[in-house]
Amino acid sequence: MGELDELITKLLKERLGEDAELAIKLYTAYKERGRRGVLEVINEVLREVGVEVSMGED
């Protein structure tokens, strides 16, 4: 993880409290796998209630 990532992660934790975990997960996913990564993380959460978002839509 680069310095900028560390700074962003730290600031997200400070700013978002309980929501920071998901925010950091989304940030890391975006860094690693782009938009697809973000949607994968979101679908992992949404799977709990049996829905998902499509990869091809906005």
């Binding site: 680069g2 700013r15 978002l16 929501d19 690693e32 973000v38 949607l39 829905v51 839509e57």
Partner: protein
């Protein structure tokens, strides 16, 4: 060790078929060739070698398969770095896509797959995003920094600061999709919720469906009717216009007449509905006087003397009915306020009573507990008292015991002496000795008689009985004393408890007395409030009725005026040649059609709404197999998740602002010294950057950056007022300040056609900047591509003049073939 590029070997990469090799040196490496000769491909090959599939993930290339030469099924790249590490990537065509294999040698260890990707990033100290930000420099970067609009420049600087990623992350969040899911769930739930209502309203789903068909037919019919009525209405309006045409001055009178008539009819209808036939001032005055007297009586009863006195002065006449009513209302409101105040007092006393009741309950509970304890100990207390009355107080028992013990001791001593003497005398008598064995005195017969008598005396049991009696008494008293002493503590506690019970009882009695007083006050207040309430309700009904009567009276008087006015206007119309009967008939028709049209439109609107509702609800019948509670849970979850993403979006925006501040701080410290190193002249002595946050309405809050240089003395000069060379120096200083603000192991810059289509001055300034970059040790290696032979020559000449190492790689395009020529 800081990393530079040593060698690139490509096979069947993009336009390059077969194997090609480029060796790079420290200093400047110029890759020169015409358009389409593959200069950008060389830069891309280096980037791909380092970061592989990330280029596709981040959409920097559309498909990996595009990197394979059109004539080949696979391609290979091997990049060797200055520390001896190397990375080899191969792509094999597989349908429309490509499969990648990667192999790296770092510190002489072979690593493959994802581990290789991770280790390369660790080795360089930056990932692909950072690489794109400040290692890869294109003409777009430089242009946007110093030639572009403020918006373009700001977007680029945000990208250089790494803020674009946060923007893109926010844009990637599928808010619209989740919103759609929420809306759909809401509709499904609404449908499920309303279905029972529909069934109960229409009897069954089939009947509801029939109703839909009926509604459609009814709506069609109503639309037809509406059209006909509209037509008729317009025709009547035309007819009215026709009848007025040609009659000069009639329009105003006509309008007045119609308005007066409508107003008169309206009032008549209102009065008729209210059943007002005849109304006059006197009857209202009499009612107001009765109200005034009743109110005065109540005000006096409730000690509102001032208000009562004020009202007594009120003289009601037929002309001041409204004023009088107002004054009665004012005084009456004071009585209402008093009722509110009394109610508040009663509530307060109620609360106090509640507190006291709680206290009394608590005291009662304490008393019960104390009485319980007393009852429990009563037996032992009685025993103690019986013992004391029989044996006296413990002190006395103790004294008697001491006396008895002393007495016993004395008697015991006497008894010992008697017993010894008896033994001696019995011995003398038994042995019949001549002499006394104790004193040696000769014993006579007389002595023996004395001895026999004495033995008889001494053998009496009297002394022993006395000892037994004393011992019995001592034993008894000791037992009693022990018992009395053990009971004493209980008795003390009992007496303290009695005292406490007495105190609690006294407090309880005081509380009960207070409660009784409060109860009495509450009853009294309640009585007063009830009296007042009854009066207020009756009085309000009456005064409101009088108020209404006064309002009707006004209307009644207005009606009389309107009738007179209408007659007058009718005469005027007749004198102007207009038949009022025709007018009235026409207006009646217009009004009738207008009312009918309104009715039809209302019905149309109702039916359309019901039809839409039925269509929505019935469209989902049979589709939902899921339990409504599952849907509800899903909806709650999605709503919460949507809100969470919203919070995250806002948080990311805030974080972006804070990262920007941090980056600005870092860059500001670097940009000045770097500028001074790169710019050897004295007309400018530094550079800086500023950010301004602006609210651009619908676009939102944006950050605008300003790059500037300092004149000697500190005056700021914005880039737009600088020469091309000065602008380029600022741009490069800024890029390098970002490059140096981050810790990494890279010691090279890749410049892909950084200044196309520029004049000689800019070219030379840029060439000398590159040389200075290397010479001042800001970067160890620059790889630059250009199609400009002039720039190539300028860079080569500047490097030669400064004694800097410079290599030229020439790319040649022959038909579809691309060749690499490494110049000596």
């Amino acid at each position: 060790m800081r990393i530079r590029i040593k060698e690139l070997v490509i096979r069947d990469f993009r336009g390059f078929s077969n194997e090609r090799r480029i060796t790079f040196g420290d200093g400047i490496n110029v890759i020169h060739g015409p358009v389409g000769s593959g200069k950008t491909s060389i830069i891309q090959a280096i980037e791909y070698a380092l970061y592989g599939t990330q280029l596709e993930v981040k959409e920097r290339i559309s498909k990996l398969v595009d990197l394979i030469n059109e004539e080949a099924d696979e391609m290979t790249i091997r990049l060797t770095l200055s520390d001896g590490s190397s990375v080899t990537r191969a792509l094999r065509r597989s349908g429309d896509s490509a499969r990648e294999t990667v192999r790296a040698i770092i510190d002489s260890v072979v690593i493959k797959g994802e581990d290789a990707d991770r280790r390369i990033i660790e080795l360089l100290g930056i990932d692909d995003d950072d690489f794109e930000r400040f290692v890869l420099v294109t003409h777009r970067t430089l242009e946007a920094l110093v030639y572009g609009s403020i918006v373009r420049r700001s977007i680029l600087i945000d990208k250089l600061f790494g803020l674009e990623i946060l923007d893109n992350l926010n844009k990637s969040l599928p808010m619209t999709q989740i919103e759609r899911l929420i809306t759909e769930l809401r509709q499904r739930l609404a449908s499920i919720k309303e279905l029972p209502e529909i069934t109960s309203k229409y009897g069954s789903i089939e009947r509801a469906r029939e109703k839909m068909s009926e509604l459609r037919a009814e709506i069609d019919r109503l639309r037809g009717e509406e059209e006909e009525l509209s037509k008729a209405y317009n025709e009547l309006l035309l007819k009215r216009n026709e009848s007025l045409k040609g009659l000069r001055g009639v329009e105003e009178v006509y309008s007045n007449y119609i308005a007066t008539r409508l107003r008169r009819e309206g009032i008549e209808e209102e009065l008729s509905k209210a059943n007002v036939r005849d109304i006059n001032e006197t009857s209202i005055r009499l009612r107001l006087e009765r109200l005034r007297d009743a109110l005065i009586e109540r005000l006096e009863e409730f000690a509102l003397v001032k208000d009562a006195e004020e009202l007594e002065k009120l003289v009601i006449t037929n002309d001041n009915l409204a004023d009088a009513l107002e004054r009665l209302y004012t005084a009456f409101e004071n009585l209402v306020k008093l009722r509110d105040k009394l109610t508040e007092d009663k509530d307060y006393l109620g609360r106090v009573r509640q507190d006291l009741e709680l206290q009394a309950e608590s005291e009662k509970a304490s008393l019960r507990e104390l009485e319980g304890r007393l009852a429990q100990e009563e037996g032992r207390v009685r025993e103690y008292r019986d013992l004391v009355s029989k044996y006296g107080e413990p002190e006395r028992i103790r004294r008697e015991l001491e006396e008895l013990r002393a007495k016993l001791e004395k008697i015991n001593a006497e008894e010992g002496f008697r017993s010894s003497l008896l033994n001696v005398l019995q011995y003398i008598l038994t042995t019949h000795t001549d002499k006394c064995p104790v004193c040696g005195k000769p014993l006579s017969d007389e002595d023996y008689e004395t001895i026999s008598r004495r033995i008889k005396e001494l053998s009496s049991k009297e002394g022993m009985e006395s000892i037994d009696n004393i011992r019995d008494r001592i034993n008894e008293l000791e037992k009693v004393l022990m018992r009395v002493e053990s009971l004493r503590a209980i008795v003390d506690d009992y007496e303290a408890t009695v005292e406490r019970a007495r105190e609690v009882k006294s407090r309880l009695e005081a509380l009960i007395t207070r409660l009784e007083t409060i109860d009495s006050s509450i009853r009294d207040l309640d009585k007063r409030i009830q009296t007042l309430m009854r009066f207020i309700n009756e009085f309000r009904d009456e005064i409101d009725d009088v108020d209404k009567a006064i309002s009707y009276l006004k209307k009644y008087r207005e009606l009389e005026k309107l009738r007179a006015q209408e007659d007058e206007l009718k005469k005027q119309l007749a004198s102007l040649g207009l038949d009022t009967n025709t007018v009235v008939k026409l207006e009646d028709d217009i009004k009738y059609i207008s009312d009918k049209l309104t009715q039809v439109r209302n019905k149309l609107s109702e039916d359309s709404a019901e039809l839409s509702r039925l269509e929505l609800i019935l469209s989902r019948v049979g589709l939902d197999k899921e339990d409504p509670s599952t849907l509800r849970r899903r909806l709650d979850f999605l709503e919460e998740f949507y809100n969470k993403l919203g919070r995250i979006r806002a948080g990311i925006r805030d974080v972006q602002a804070r990262v920007r501040d941090e980056m600005i701080k870092l860059v500001r410290d670097n940009v000045g010294p770097i500028f001074k190193t790169l710019y050897p002249y004295e007309d400018l002595e530094g550079a800086g950057i500023e950010v301004t946050v602006r609210d651009r309405g619908v676009v939102g809050v944006v950050s605008e950056y300003t790059l500037y240089a300092f004149r000697p003395g500190g005056r700021k000069v914005t880039v737009s007022r600088l020469s091309d060379g000065q602008r380029l120096t600022i741009a490069l200083s800024f890029l390098l300040s970002v490059y140096r603000a981050t810790n990494h192991n890279i010691d090279f810059l890749l410049m892909d056609e950084p200044i196309p289509y520029v004049d000689q001055n800019i070219r030379r300034a840029f060439a000398s900047l590159l040389v200075r970059l290397i010479k001042e040790g800001l970067v160890g290696q620059v790889i630059i591509t250009t199609q400009s032979e002039d720039l190539r020559n300028d860079v080569v000449n500047a490097a030669r003049d400064a004694g800097i190492n410079c290599r030229v790689v020439r790319l040649v395009k022959e038909g579809n073939e691309r060749k690499i020529v490494q110049e000596p």
